[in-house]
C-alpha cells in the first residue's frame, strides 16, 4: 500500500499542468472555474472552442486506447490529468458525455463502422453527445421505458416515437444515444434496443426545462418518427439494457478525482468567505467546515481505493465503489447547505436581476439534484443493501 506517485507519473503531472498553464489563457482565461454544476449554461460556444483546443493538444479521451484516437493513459495518469485539469480551473467539459459514455459504449459494443463514424468527432471535440435514458414514466424505474423503436423496412430505418426527459445538453448536442423498446410486447429490461441518432432532424423536438436555479441545462426530447439508420443500433434488438448497463462498468471512477478537485475549489471558496465574514470563528460552522474537509479528503482516497482494487470477476462493483454515489452526492448537497450557512443572511441577496446567482448560491440550489439524478439516494441504498449486503430484493408490483 503506497500513496505516492512514481517519478514518471510526476513528470506527466508537470506536463499536464504546463500545457494548461500555457493554454488556458487569452480568450480562454474567462472560462476558468466556469461551466461546472449549476453553471453549465454559461459560455457554451467558448467552451466548445476550448474542447477543440484540448483535442489539438491531445487532451481529450486521455484514457481511451490509442487505436481509437485516445492517449492510452494509465489509470494513474488519468487520475493526474483530471486532478490537474480541475486544479487549473479547467472549465466544465462539453464533451464529457461523448468521451465518458457514448464513446466507451461504442468501443465496447459497437461495430467497426460505428467506431469509424462516431469516435473521431468525439476525440476532435467537434461532435457533442447527449443521453436519452429517463422518461416521464421511467425515472428510478429506468427499465420502464415506453419510447418505441419500429423498423421500417421500406425506409430501411428505425423509427422512434416517445419522449425522453432530463436530457442534459440536448439543445447543444449533435447526437443522442437512446434506449427504446424494440419489442412492443416486452416489459422491463427485456426487449430494448440501444440507438444512435442525429439530433438535427425533423422527428426530434427539444424543449428546455427551467430548473430551480432559473437556468435551463436539461431538456425534454420528443421523438415523432425520429429516424435512426439501420446500422446505428448498438448490439442487437433486445440487447439495449445490457449495452446501457455496460456503461456503468466503464466508469471505474477515474473522472471522480477531477470532480473532487472541483469540490475542493468550492470548499476553498466557502472557506474564503468564512474567513472574510467571521464565520470561521463560529464553533458550529468550524465543525461543519472541518467535517466537509475531512470527508472530501477521504473521498479522494476512496476513489484511489476504487482504482487500485479489483472488481469482482462478474464485473460487479467493489464495496467502496457501490457506496460512492450515495457518499459524494450527500456530501455535495451538505456542502451547498454549508455555503449558505457560512454566507448567512447575505446568502439571500442575489447578484442581479434576473435571478442571477453567485456560484455558491447556484451550488446550494444545484446540489439538490445530486441526490436525485443517476440513481436517487434511496435507490442507491437499495442497491447497496441488495448487492453489497445480500439483503432481500424489493418486491416488484
Amino acid at each position: 500500500m503506497k500513496l505516492s506517485f512514481s517519478a514518471q507519473d510526476e513528470a506527466f503531472r508537470q506536463e499536464v499542468a504546463g500545457w494548461l498553464q500555457a493554454n488556458l489563457t487569452g480568450e480562454f482565461a474567462q472560462l476558468k472555474f466556469r461551466g461546472g454544476p449549476g453553471d453549465e449554461h454559461m459560455f457554451q460556444a467558448e467552451r466548445q472552442q476550448w474542447e477543440r483546443k484540448l483535442a489539438q493538444g491531445g487532451w481529450t479521451c486521455v484514457g481511451w486506447p490509442k487505436q481509437y484516437g485516445g492517449r492510452g493513459c494509465s489509470i494513474e495518469q488519468q487520475v493526474i490529468f483530471f486532478e490537474e485539469y480541475a486544479r487549473a480551473g479547467g472549465p466544465g467539459r462539453v464533451g464529457h458525455i461523448g468521451e465518458g459514455l457514448a464513446g466507451p459504449t461504442i468501443i465496447a459494443f459497437g461495430t467497426d463502422a460505428q467506431k469509424q463514424k462516431y469516435l473521431p468527432g468525439i476525440v476532435a471535440g467537434t461532435e457533442l453527445w447527449c443521453q436519452g435514458y429517463s422518461e416521464p414514466g421511467a425515472g428510478s424505474d429506468l427499465a420502464n421505458v415506453k419510447t418505441r423503436a419500429r423498423f421500417d423496412a421500406q425506409k430501411n430505418k428505425w423509427l422512434l416515437n416517445g419522449q425522453k426527459v432530463w436530457t442534459s445538453l440536448a439543445h447543444e448536442a449533435d447526437y443522442i444515444f437512446v434506449i427504446a423498446r424494440t419489442d412492443p410486447e416486452s416489459s422491463a429490461h427485456k426487449g430494448l434496443g440501444f440507438f444512435l441518432l442525429k439530433m438535427d432532424q425533423p422527428g426530434i423536438t427539444v424543449r428546455p426545462i427551467q430548473q430551480i436555479t432559473g437556468t435551463c441545462e436539461f431538456n425534454e426530447v420528443f421523438f415523432d418518427d425520429a429516424e435512426c439508420a439501420a446500422d446505428d443500433i448498438v448490439g442487437k434488438p433486445g440487447d439495449g439494457w445490457k449495452v446501457a448497463m455496460g456503461l456503468l462498468g466503464f466508469e471505474r471512477g477515474v473522472s471522480t478525482l477531477g470532480q473532487q478537485m472541483q469540490f475542493q475549489n468550492e470548499l476553498n471558496e466557502i472557506i474564503a468567505v468564512a474567513k472574510q465574514n467571521g464565520a470561521d470563528k463560529n464553533p458550529v460552522l468550524r465543525q461543519r467546515i472541518a467535517k466537509a474537509h475531512a470527508e472530501l479528503k477521504i473521498m479522494r482516497y476512496n476513489s484511489l481505493r476504487m482504482l487500485s482494487g479489483q472488481s469482482g470477476s462478474d464485473g460487479s462493483l467493489q464495496k467502496e465503489a457501490l457506496i460512492y454515489k450515495l457518499f459524494w452526492a450527500t456530501w455535495h448537497r451538505d456542502l451547498g447547505e454549508l455555503a449558505m450557512d457560512v454566507m448567512g443572511p447575505e446568502s439571500q441577496i442575489l447578484e442581479a436581476e434576473p435571478y442571477q446567482l453567485n456560484r455558491l448560491q447556484a451550488l446550494y440550489l444545484f446540489t439538490r439534484s445530486d441526490t436525485i439524478y443517476g440513481g436517487t439516494n434511496q435507490i442507491q441504498r437499495n442497491i447497496i443493501a441488495e448487492r453489497g449486503l445480500g439483503m432481500p430484493k424489493e418486491p416488484r408490483g
Binding site: 500500500m1 468550524r286 479528503k297 484511489l304 467502496e320 450515495l326
Partner: protein, 401 residues
Amino acid sequence: MHFAFTDEQIMIRDSAESFLMEVSTSQAVRAAMATDTGYDPDLWRSICRDLGWQSTLIPEAHGGLGLGIVELVALQEQMGRFLLCSPFYATVCFGITSLLVAGTESQQAEYLPKINAGMTATLAFAGAASAHHGGQWDAAAVDAVYEHHGDHFILNGTLKYVVDGASSELLIIAARRTASVGNDGISLFIVPASTAGIVRQQQPTMDQTRKQADIVLHNLHVPESALMGAEGKAGPQLQQILNLATVALAAEQLGGAQTVLDMAVAYTKERVQFGRSIASFQAIKHKAADMMTRVEVARSGVYYAACVAQEALEAAQGRPAPLAAELPEAASIAKSYCSDTYFKNAGDALQMYGGVGFTWEYDVHLHFKRAKASEHYLGNGAWHRERLAQIVLDNRNGAAA
C-alpha cells in the same frame, strides 16, 4: 501509487482473522473482561510466541519483524472486529511507538527485546484537562510534574485513563518541568511499573473490554537513564506518539463498525415479522446501507492515515517521507470519522436487533459500550474536527496544537 494491501498484507490480515475467529469468541471476551487484568494471559503468551504480533513494529535489528503501520492497522482492524481483549494496543501502539519515536539507543536495546519476549507496556500522559468538557488529548494537557535533582528526577501527579495501566509491566510517563506550559518542558520517562512511588488504581469502566487505571506518582525517583530524549523537549515526540496511537485506534474502531454491521445484517435476515424477514423492509435495508457506506468511507480514511503514519514513522527514523508532515491531519480525519462511525453503527445495530439488542446476553452491548469508550479516548469526533479547523481555518499545524 497502489492504494490496496499487498499480497503479504492480505495474508497478515486473513491469518489474523481466522485466528481471532477461533480464540476471541463471545465466550472468551466475556471471560476475559471479568478478570482483573482484562485479558487472558495464556492467549497473550500464545500471540507473542506463535504469531509475533507484538513484534510487528520492532526493527529486525532488535529481533522484531520490522513491519510498518499498514500491517499494524491491518491487525488492529481485525482485533477491533473480534473485540480482542489483550494488552496489544497499549504495548504496541503506545509502548513500542514511544520507544521508536523517543527512546534512546540503549533504551531501545534494553526494552524492545523484552517486549518482543512478551513484556507489556503502556503510556501514561493524560492529566486533569483530559477530563474537562470534551477532553483535551494533546501533549499540552500533560500536568504531572518533574524536578531534576542531581543524577535523578522526582515525579509527582496523577495520570488518568491509562489503558491497561494496572497490569502493564512497563510504564512510559509524560511529565512536565514544574511551571512549564504548552508543549514546552515535557519529558518522557520509561520505568518499570513496580517502582516504588507509583500507585496504580484500576477504574471500574462501562466498557469492560478494555481496562483503564489512574496512576498516582508520589515522589517517584527516576534515574537519568530513564529519560527518553532531551529533557523538556519531548512535547513534539509525545504528540507524534499520540497521533500514531490515534490512527491505530481508528483502525480498531473501523473493525468494530464492520462487525456490528455484519451482525445486524445477519440478524435481520433471520428475524421474521409480518411474515417476512425484516431485512426485506426498506426501513432496515436503508439503515444497513448507511452503515455500510460509513464503514467503507471509514476504511478509506484509515488506510490513508496508515500510509501517512508509516511515512511519519520513517521520517522519525531519518528516512525521506514526503507525506510525514500530514500525520496530525490524517490522524484527526481518521479518528473523527471512525469515532462517529463506530458509535452510530453500534447504535443502529442495537436498534435493528430490537429488544434483544438491549439485553446482556446478546453481544451488541459490548460493541455499543466499546464504541463510546473508544470515541472519547484520545479525543472524540468534535475534538478532532476542531484540530482540523485549526489547520484549515487558522493555518495552524496540528503538530503544534
